[in-house]
């Protein structure tokens, strides 16, 4: 039980990596504040987690790219007297295409959700973390953000921005005992990657398998827990040794 008496806020929590992190954190005793645009899936996940674990799960609907919605949700969290120690900025989209073929709306959505969404939630969460005299922020970047990939220049830009943001924010908040780190997943089996042929990807992965959401969740658990109490400003790859 690495997260007893902690509360973790997770965005993009209704499926994939976010869902896996929520379930693993709950198994380790954390109460959860889950945010997603899909309240139907969030409600099912809340019921599933509360049935299996003695934790409290609060759910809120918000689009992380919408500043006013995030502001409103965090006001609600404060008035609901929820104390938050861990923030997982997981919500993201992956809209691919060679740059010449990318429509402005798709470019904007990549940046709005992946980059601005992370910044919006981090900004709104600082006050909550300070009230607890510290905490941990975990941002989700990508191997595409660290290494780049043909046909993903915009997605890559949206994710590499998270690396600079993480490193700078970690310096800004270290005096407040708030650690800020990022995870860079490789090829993880989620609905976001289902359009990519797995066999083709496996050839470039040292460990010769596609990653699972739990592989990422395990690192998110480490970064949220006191096991990483001296770790901040880092980007941890979870990619099975993938080469791109």
């Amino acid at each position: 039980m690495l997260l007893l008496n902690k509360t973790a806020l997770i965005t993009g929590a209704s499926k994939g990596i976010g869902e896996a992190i929520a379930e693993l954190y709950a198994e380790h005793g954390a109460n959860l504040v889950l945010i997603s645009r899909d309240m139907g899936r969030l409600t099912s996940l809340k019921n599933k987690i509360e049935h299996k674990n003695a934790v409290q799960v609060s759910i809120y609907r918000a689009d992380v790219s919408n500043y006013e919605e995030i502001k409103s949700v965090f006001k609600q969290i404060s008035s609901d007297k929820l104390s938050v120690n861990i923030i997982v900025n997981n919500a993201g989209v992956m809209l691919d295409g060679t740059l010449m073929m990318m429509k402005p709306e798709a470019i904007k959505q990549n940046i709005d959700v992946n980059t601005l969404g992370t910044i919006n939630v981090a900004q709104a969460s600082i006050k909550l973390l300070i009230k607890n005299r510290g905490g941990a922020i975990i941002n989700m970047t990508s191997i595409i953000g660290t290494n780049g990939s043909s046909g993903q220049s915009v997605y890559s830009a949206s994710k590499s921005a998270i690396i600079g943001f993480t490193k700078s924010l970690s310096k800004e908040l270290s005096a407040l005992n708030i650690r800020v780190n990022a995870i860079a997943p490789g090829f993880i089996a989620t609905n976001m990657t289902e359009h990519i042929p797995a066999q083709q990807a496996i050839a470039s992965i040292g460990l010769a398998r596609v990653g699972q959401p739990l592989d990422v969740a395990n690192v998110a658990l480490f970064l949220a827990s006191d096991l990483s109490s001296y770790v901040t400003g880092q980007v941890i790859g979870v990619d099975g040794g993938m080469i791109i």
């Binding site: 502001k71 404060s78 008035s79 006050k127 009230k131 005096a175």
Partner: protein
Amino acid sequence: MDNSEKLFSSFAEALGIDASSVSDGLEYQSIPEWDSISHMILISQLEEDFEVSIDTDDVIDMSSVAKAKEILSKYNIVF
């Protein structure tokens, strides 16, 4: 303790200074203790003590103790 005394106490606790050093005229970055880092602690302290949620625009605008009173008045805190 009235709200002015409560405000001075919040400032003193957040900035780690003596309450007697706090006055309406105290301004952001006029003393080493009130820098951009302690400003974040101050906002958190004010939110906790006055049970309000301060908007980002107001966080940026809070440039003095007098301004803090003006801003908190918008949140129905009477001085």
